[in-house]
Amino acid sequence: MIVLVPIFATAAAAGLLARGLFAGYPSRRVPDGLLNAKEQAIVAACADTLFPAGGPIPLSGTEAGLVEYMEGYFERLPSQQRVLVRLLFWFTEHGPWVFGPAPVRFTSLDEKSRLRVLESMRTSPIYFRRIAFLSMRTMLSMGYLAHPEVARAMGMTADSDPFRHEAEAA
């Protein structure tokens, strides 16, 4: 009987780990996408933390379609880069286990705590954490600024002949 104790303990730990890693994610926003439910949830959580609704640019990250954008971006990536992007999502999601503020997943945190996590990545003394944050923010910013409403809010134009149009308007 004593022999079985470590086996049960290992199995229980494995079960808890599996649950911590894979269970409890909402169903996928993009059903046929390459990103799984967990990855889409991480993208959505990061998107709305970086770009909250009702801010100086009213559109939130998910309202700007960042999950769908990332799905397309991911699909077009070469396979080696996909692995790196997946690792980045996992690093963000499970970073709080190591770096705080609580031993839970990023997507399980409330909005304020998510902001704290991303802020600690952004300003981290650890170079790799800062680079991870920068990579994530670059991808999501590309998607956010690609949305016409965001571009409009920023006054950003993609005009192929801006000076002629300016002169005509004047």
């Binding site: 801010g55 640019i57 990536l77 800062r130 680079i131 590309m142 809010a153 006054g155 005009d159 801006p162």
Partner: protein
């Protein structure tokens, strides 16, 4: 299996063209073979095979075709027409750049570096800056590896390229406030500055160089040298990846590769080319990979060694009034005042989203900065490193290079000096704050006094977001076969019919943007081949 035979019966030599053909209204890529054209394996014979259609390869192909040679030009990427260009940063980078635009060197820090993968190579996506290296650069090259080139020898080649590409200073009408503020700052400080000279005709100041010129104003090689090469009889085949050079003793006898699908890179049919002479112009990162995978021309031990780059670092000036940075020539002004000291100061622009990622703040604060983006102008400094080196190695699988680069502390100190000068330019041009984007420095500097930290801090490379898109010297030229890979004529030491014509052959830094230099060198190599081979 299809066999392409060389064209025959052509009267030689063909008239050389001195100016890029006028293609207004015409398809610049007419005659270019694309992925959909291939029905099976390709077996080609030709006199000259040129690998790569960027600034080096396209010049060689055009010049040799016009010299009456039977030229085949192969390019891995597809052609992009004006309608194919998209302003969405992510999509543009993924479609036009290798590794989906995510390439970075490893080493003591990550340095993002881009390589184009399309007909015309880097010339399609760069800012079109054409700058001749100052005279003293050639002395440095001589000191580096005994290269006996000088400004006088190179002058006719620069002139030919400049004339062909309509190289001229950026006109004031399309500068826009972003560029003019930089000029104003330089003027106030007594730093010399000048409009950039560019290979552009009819620029409208759309600031879209990086994602491809929708106006067709940029004279990238796919709309200039490549059409001229086709007109002179060259066969241009895209979606062909050259993978291995097959040599028999001192001679290349074949080049093997595959047809690859655009954007996915999926391998299709095999390609075998039997040329009499090969010019590799696949770029400073890709040519070493081909040589290493082929185990050809490696005797010198220099292939892929001593990679040099121009790391660049930017700061963002914030003005009290809107300057609409998305209007105006992409990089319309620069200062060569401190070139001798390894620093080139310039205006920077790229898709707004790429630059936005370095803005301060998170959430609402980040959005606030995005909202005031129309008041910002990014300026950057690139540094000609004296002590920072890297390497390029073929990976075991695939054809992407493994790039290593170590940013030396002394060069970091020099770039820090450049950043401090940029902050002076910002203040002198009327900025009310600066966003330095450097770890360990306040995110927003509100006064000259506050920005002194940019001079006094002990900056580390890893504190910065440094990128480097000028890369060279991975197959450097040298007088002796023990000091480099190619001769000053571009021929690989120890090989009779293998040449290289990309920035890999630079003996050292050109101090300025490398495109014009590699084109002039390619022009010289082509003339040498035409005369001797």
């Amino acid at each position: 299996m299809s066999t392409d035979k060389p064209s025959s019966g052509r009267s030689l030599p063909i008239q050389r063209t001195d100016e890029s053909p006028d293609l207004s209204g015409a398809d610049p890529h007419a005659g270019v073979r694309v992925f959909a054209d291939y029905r099976g394996e390709l077996d080609l014979t030709c006199e000259i095979l040129v690998v790569g259609s960027g600034p080096g390869g396209a010049v060689v192909a055009k010049e040799l075709a016009e010299a009456g040679r039977d030229v085949v030009l192969v390019e891995e990427g597809p052609p992009f027409g004006k309608k194919d260009f998209t302003q969405e940063a992510g999509l543009a980078m993924q479609r036009m750049l290798r590794e989906g635009g995510t390439r970075a060197s490893r080493g003591n820090m990550f340095v993002p570096t881009m390589q184009a993968n399309l007909l015309g190579g880097g010339s399609v996506i760069n800012s079109a800056i054409c700058a001749r290296p100052p005279e003293w650069v050639w002395d440095k090259w001589a000191a580096a590896s005994g290269v006996d080139l000088d400004a006088h020898t190179m002058a006719p080649h620069f002139e030919r390229v400049e004339k062909f590409l309509f190289v001229a200073p950026t006109p004031t009408e399309v500068q826009g406030e972003r560029n003019l503020r930089f000029k104003r700052g330089c003027d106030e400080l007594g730093l010399s500055s000048e409009p950039t000279w560019r290979n552009v005709k009819g620029c409208k100041g759309s600031a879209e160089c990086f994602t491809g010129c929708r106006n067709g104003a940029k004279k990238s090689t796919d709309t200039s040298y490549v059409p001229a090469a086709i007109r002179a009889g060259a066969r241009v085949l895209t979606s062909i990846r050259a993978e291995r050079v097959v040599a028999d003793g001192r001679r290349v006898v074949a080049v093997h590769g595959h047809i690859v699908e655009p954007f996915t890179g999926k391998e299709s049919y095999a390609v075998r080319v039997r040329p009499k002479l090969v010019v590799l112009a696949a770029g400073c990162m890709q040519t070493p990979v081909i040589l290493q995978k082929s185990e050809v021309a490696l005797e010198s031990g220099w292939v892929g060694k001593k990679l040099l780059m121009h790391p660049g670092l930017a700061v963002m000036a914030v003005y009290p009034d809107p300057i609409d940075p998305w209007k105006g020539a992409t990089q319309g002004y620069h200062s060569l005042h401190l070139l001798r000291e390894g620093l080139k100061l310039e205006v920077l622009w790229s898709p707004p989203a790429v630059l936005a990622a370095r803005l301060p703040g998170l959430g609402v604060d980040y959005q606030r900065h995005l909202r005031s983006y129309d008041h910002m102008a990014p300026f950057d400094v690139i540094v000609a490193c004296e002590k920072s080196f890297g390497s390029v190695r073929a990976k075991r699988s695939g054809f992407d290079p493994d790039i290593k680069f170590d940013f030396h502390d002394d060069d970091v100190r020099n770039i820090q000096r450049g950043v401090a000068l940029l902050s002076d330019i910002c203040w002198a041009s009327g900025a009310t704050s600066i966003l330095p984007g450097i770890h360990g420095v306040p995110e927003e500097l509100h006064s000259r006094a506050e920005s002194e930290i940019l001079r006094t801090m002990k900056l580390k490379g890893t504190d910065t977001i440094t990128a480097a898109n000028h890369a060279f010297a991975s197959t450097r030229m040298s007088k002796s076969s023990t000091e480099g890979v190619v001769t000053t004529d571009g021929r690989c030491h120890g090989m009779d019919n293998l040449f290289i014509a990309d920035t890999g052959i630079f003996a050292s830094s050109p101090a300025v943007n490398p495109m014009l230099t590699v084109m002039a060198l390619a022009d010289r190599i082509a003339q040498h081949v035409a005369a001797t081979a």
